[in-house]
Symmetry: C2
Subunit: 765 residues, 2 copies
């Protein structure tokens, strides 16, 4: 391969700019075969010109770089509303026409490209899932560089060119993403080439970085660890020369030990109208969206639009609707094309994980309650074997909590990735580490998303309360997966998996800030077709969930599981069968065919407390007819109408009955159970205990008691709901109240829980 000449690069750029502007404006007359007429213009002008010419400029040089350096390159368009540019690129390299033959290299194909941009039934105005070659949507801003870094992990031959807009650069997620290169390992990982594109403006005002002097920008990025190269100006010929030299320098063998990056200063709306109605447009915030507002009537805007469009010379660029030989000379072939690279359709590259047999790691359980262990510690052993078997396609992410979440077994296999020098006292830290720890949930999430979008697998473990930090990222990734599924051509990618340990009921020592189960509420709204919420009640259940989520595709799986030693309830076989159903009766705990009250639970601590309540009641009121139901897959509570794959109404009725009150002990906010189950028959029987937004620094049992999810509060509610009023019931009630008082007094005097509370064990059968 040889580098195309810069005249051809300029031709490609002009072609992409023409296609971009035309997408915003034209519904007909795609090649300007005749004078532009009002009826050629769309009725509703939607799109963003301002960022586009800078993006197409970068894409032109990305194409040139692939040819000049003979390498795989993935292009990430960070700036918002860059849709016209990336669609133009995908049309030019033919990848769009291959996926949607109506949009091929013909005049009619061009017309369709233009007409369907930002149009009902068409494509959105960002680099969306519908755009070939994209793994990143410039809708909500901030995640481009984290995605780029995740894409580069374990792809040693790959260059990820990532354009960061100066608007996006103001976001928190992006501001810390500049440190990401410290986590890339030459030889093992690919390289990321950021292009900070300073066009100077957000929607309506200048950007911070756009108004900083070069010296300050240089200092900032040297401080972040990069070696910046500046490309600045507005003369196309000079800019092409400078940009080609900068890219060549970045992709060559550098003489700086810092990774290179490019700072590109070019006018917002470059090559568009300089002024409109006498007001400056090019190089100002006025170029952000649609520069000429009223071209759908005869008048100066229409004429100015025509002059603008004709300035690119479409007739020479697309003779008969086909990109000219000169334009085509800038583009690589086959899978090297920006729009066709499999790195941007990661499912094509996905290899299933070699999953260890959970049976080799399961807790051996002679009877329910007979063993006591921490669930995440057991999972950690399994994960260690998983990482041993899949040394290049799996990573573990988290904000410095791998050890505190009891997953340390993975350190038998690998280390933490060291983002700087290693000292003798450091614990499992090395430049080869595959455990990605950084105290930024945004980076953990963004890296993992980039890793998944390019076809690999991973797990993000975090504190339950602080996972809210990436609520918006979760949102956008789920939206992306939904849209990707609608394209018809994107291959499924591995699911996004979170393990929320250090959960609300075991953050008694860290206090109120660390106590929050609300992330499940956030996810549940997205629907069971995309989301699963798993609440494994013990270690074997967690193993069963792990087997499931790491084999799944195109979903977001949220697992909430504790790290503290807790009683174990199910053998692995039982756990797998239970998970398969989503919920079910635990007959060994209580299984009256005609229950007075159904006791239900979801979550490890609520399950233990609910079982302790059943234990207590079976002692105190032996003839009380109870049934015990546990829910491990929360979205299975939704009716089949919302979730056709899930539990039927018959299964629901078989477990929860149809008449008896249900006292439900739930890990999260009680309202969530109602939100999910409100269309199930007899939902009004459900009385849910859960987190009532009461917390502080206290003891484990007190956390439960403050929110009335403890065994005594559950037992009291069961007695109430049973409607029984005899003497034994009164005595049982009295016992519960006394125990709550004794525990309260003990904990406030000694700082820990009553031994008989802390040491309760299930000892029946």
């Amino acid at each position: 391969m040889t580098a195309p000449d810069l005249k051809a690069v300029d031709a490609w750029w002009r072609a992409a700019n023409y296609l971009s502007a035309a997408q915003i404006y034209l519904q007909d007359n795609p090649l300007l075969d005749r004078p532009l007429a009002p009826e050629d213009i769309k009725r509703r002008l939607l799109g963003h010109w301002g960022t586009t010419p800078g993006l197409t400029f970068c894409m032109a040089h990305a194409n040139r770089a692939i040819l000049a350096h003979d390498r795989d390159l993935l292009f990430i368009a960070g700036p918002g509303h860059g849709g016209p540019a990336v669609m133009a690129g995908a049309w030019l390299d033919g990848s769009l026409g291959e996926r949607d033959p109506r949009k091929g290299w013909t005049e009619e194909g061009m017309r369709k490209l233009f007409h369907e941009f930002s149009f009902p039934g068409g494509v959105p105005s960002h680099a969306a899932a519908a755009v070939p070659g994209s793994i990143h949507e410039g809708g909500e801003l901030g995640y481009s560089l984290a995605h780029a870094t995740g894409a580069a992990f374990d792809n040693p031959g790959l260059t990820v060119m990532c354009v960061v807009g100066d608007g996006e650069a103001e976001t928190g997620a992006l501001a810390t993403s500049w440190h990401s290169h410290r986590f890339l390992r030459p030889g093992r990982d690919g390289n990321v080439l950021p292009i900070l594109h300073l066009n100077g403006y957000r929607i309506a005002a200048p950007t911070i970085l756009g108004r900083m002097e070069d010296a300050e920008i240089d200092a900032l990025f040297r401080g972040y660890g990069w070696a910046p190269i500046f490309v600045e100006g507005d003369d196309p010929a000079q800019m092409h020369r400078d940009m080609a030299a900068a890219v060549d320098a970045c992709l060559g063998t550098g003489d700086d030990d810092r990774p290179p990056m490019i700072v590109l200063r070019s006018p917002k709306g470059w090559t568009g109208p300089e002024t409109v109605d006498g007001d400056p447009v090019e190089g100002t915030a006025a170029a952000h969206q649609v520069p000429l507002k009223v071209p759908r009537e005869e008048g100066p805007h229409l004429r100015q639009l025509e002059d603008w469009l004709r300035s690119y010379g479409a007739d020479a660029l697309f003779p008969g609707g086909v990109p000219s030989g000169e334009v085509r000379s800038v583009m690589p072939a086959g899978d090297r094309r920006l729009g066709a690279t499999p790195f941007a359709d990661g499912g094509r590259l996905t290899r299933p994980l070699d999953l260890p047999d959970a049976g080799d790691f399961a807790v051996d359980l002679p009877s329910p309650g007979a063993e006591q262990t921490g669930a995440t510690g057991v999972l950690g052993e399994w994960l260690a074997e998983l990482m041993r078997r899949n040394p290049e396609t799996f990573r573990l992410f988290g904000p410095d909590e791998t050890k505190s979440n009891k997953l340390s077994a993975v350190f038998d296999v690998t280390d933490r990735m060291a983002p700087g020098p290693v000292e003798a006292t450091d614990d499992h830290l090395s430049p080869e580490g595959r455990v990605m720890e950084v105290l930024s949930e945004h980076l953990c999430e963004g890296w993992l998303e980039g890793y998944l979008l390019t076809g690999r697998h991973g797990l993000f473990n975090s504190y339950e309360a602080f996972i809210h930090i990436i609520a918006s990222m979760a949102n956008q990734h789920i939206k992306w997966m939904r849209e990707a599924g609608n394209t018809g051509w994107r291959a499924p990618i591995p699911s996004l998996n979170w393990l929320l340990s250090s959960h609300v009921w075991r953050q008694d020592h860290n206090g109120f800030t660390h106590q929050d189960p609300g992330f499940m509420n956030h996810l549940a709204a997205k629907g069971a077709d995309m989301v699963r919420l798993y609440l494994p009640p013990d270690a074997n259940s967690l193993l069963a969930v792990a087997e499931t989520v790491f084999a799944s595709r195109d979903r977001a799986n949220c697992i909430v599981a504790g790290k503290q030693p807790e009683p174990q309830w199910l053998t692995l076989d039982a756990a797998r069968a239970h998970l398969q159903r989503g919920f079910g009766i635990w007959d060994w705990a209580a299984d009256d065919p005609d229950p007075e009250v159904v006791v239900a639970s979801a979550g490890d601590v609520p399950t233990m407390e609910a079982l302790a309540a059943v234990d207590l009641l079976r002692d105190l009121v032996p003839d009380l007819r109870l049934r015990f139901v546990n829910v491990v897959d929360l979205m299975a509570l939704q009716p089949p109408s919302q979730n056709a794959e899930r539990a039927t109404d018959e299964a629901f009725a078989a477990a929860f009955g149809t008449d008896a009150p249900v006292v439900f002990n739930f890990h999260g906010y009680p309202g969530l159970i109602h939100e999910l189950a409100y269309r199930r028959a007899g939902h009004e029987r459900f009385h849910v205990h859960g987190y009532a937004e009461k917390g502080t620094t206290t003891t484990p049992f007190n956390m439960a008691a403050m929110n009335e999810i403890d065994r005594f509060s559950i037992a009291l509610d069961v007695l109430d709901r049973s409607g029984r009023t005899d003497g034994r019931v009164d005595a049982a009630r009295k016992h519960c109240h006394e125990m709550l008082e004794r525990q309260h007094a003990h904990s406030h005097e000694h700082g820990d829980d009553l031994p008989e509370v802390a040491n309760w064990r299930w000892s029946r059968g």
Copy 2:
């Protein structure tokens, strides 16, 4: 005032370190009057030593600076788990004892201080609301510097000293917060003095910044616009000299035009055990939490603890439990004390806003539907007058959307704050601006929180979809307000107010990424005692809501209101009365005393569509008995048991009836209505239409139709629920289906909505 000598500063520091270590360990023997015995040690050791000595070091020098420079200083402790340090400071300066006389300057007061730290019924391990002198909790990390900046706005005499931990410095929010100083205006605003505290470690591993060389750190912070001064070492005497000189340089008249900051490198766990059981502790991650794990038994840990504690010389520092004269010489008096400054109890400084009369701005409405306007545009005029009347106590925050959210009227009063040079083409940008625009929701939220916590007022306007970015910050601020209310001594602060415009139903042009109403779900879980969700159906309702939220205290108010021209329904008086009730019948629309179906709505677009459905049905099936109910205050749907102040069950039944089906057209996810209303009588009658996670780039009406919140889908559902089957009903049904088909075909051909759909007006009475 004169500066205390550094020997005294060291004494204060040792005193604070003693008090900090003792809080973690001791339940008795507070002055070490006798040899330390196992029973003096708490049973459960909770707390974090690692960050503490660096924090107390900064506090010692903060105290010195107040005296040396005769100024108000607010101290913000960013690092996680800094609770022992700030509690020690508040005990030392007497502010703790003034609020809780059991914790005064006596041996018993010390005992209580120690015993109740991280203890049931006591205080948490962070700089929580319970800590005098704090406006910031080091629980979830990332927001200290944004809070500090918000506190400095419009407080020209104030210095905010903000300690940023190197763990926290990895977060996205903090990484972009370093740009915040560009938004401070000398003379109008106070100054922020950041101290980047590099103790080198997070929980278990080194930090990124901790392992960076000084030259790289210097470049980074010069790039951010600061002038860093380094203070590094572990010799206390030298470090005191260096720190005092650095602080004096920072608070003196600088000769650099950049604001100064301090980079403090000191060992993690400084002055604590160097090694434990032969392993290094001081200066490593092992110092993070409790260095000596088993001092509650006779043995080396107990003896080492005693040696450590005695190393501070408590007998000389606290003779008889009273801080020595030398220690006291370092502390300012009265309101200048760190623990007593009113800037840290902002409600004491709050002046109510001078609110404009909404009547001067209201839409004059001869009859429902007679006018058409954009709600936020009307609010903008009122906000402009609000800002005119309150030039020093109100600011408007947002990520560059003031204009696009139609609040531009405020630019008649003030400008955007310019974070850099201003150019001739800039639009309403100046260094005096009070509209705080930055493309970081974290900064908008953090600045506003800091501004509110110091007693001022503000509004954050944002896109509805992207407000998820600060979901976790909202969470933590609400937790803070809840805890502040529990202290008994904190004065109420102005509420946190969000205006979510550019909402899900009017982001048809921006596509799926911009369409998300889930923030309400997130907030609703926090409970109606802290949160209000307002869905004003028109401009006058929005004005009424604005009057309410800006007069409220200690709440989080989320307002969702559109910016596009929409029909207007209520006069201002009617809107105020409607808001007072939370929900109610709109009798002018439909008010049958015995309705066959109740049509209900919440949100501007769903309300318009529901009214259009009623309009249609009244034409097509004139004898259909309907009632129309609108909900403006969503949390009023909760039953009184969850929310004692709100609408009674009688009011609920009077509006929604008790038997008839309710077809509810909702702005957000349908499940939220069920979550809120599930305990209301007859909840099973509710059939909610809302956002079904269906979106793309399309037309406004298509967005509604995709999710079946459009007039035709509502009308069809009303007909279904009515149970009627006559010929007119069949004809009405047919009409609805035909209209949906025509609209679909039209929009996919022309890119806009059918004129008769887009131009529908209410024209009855």
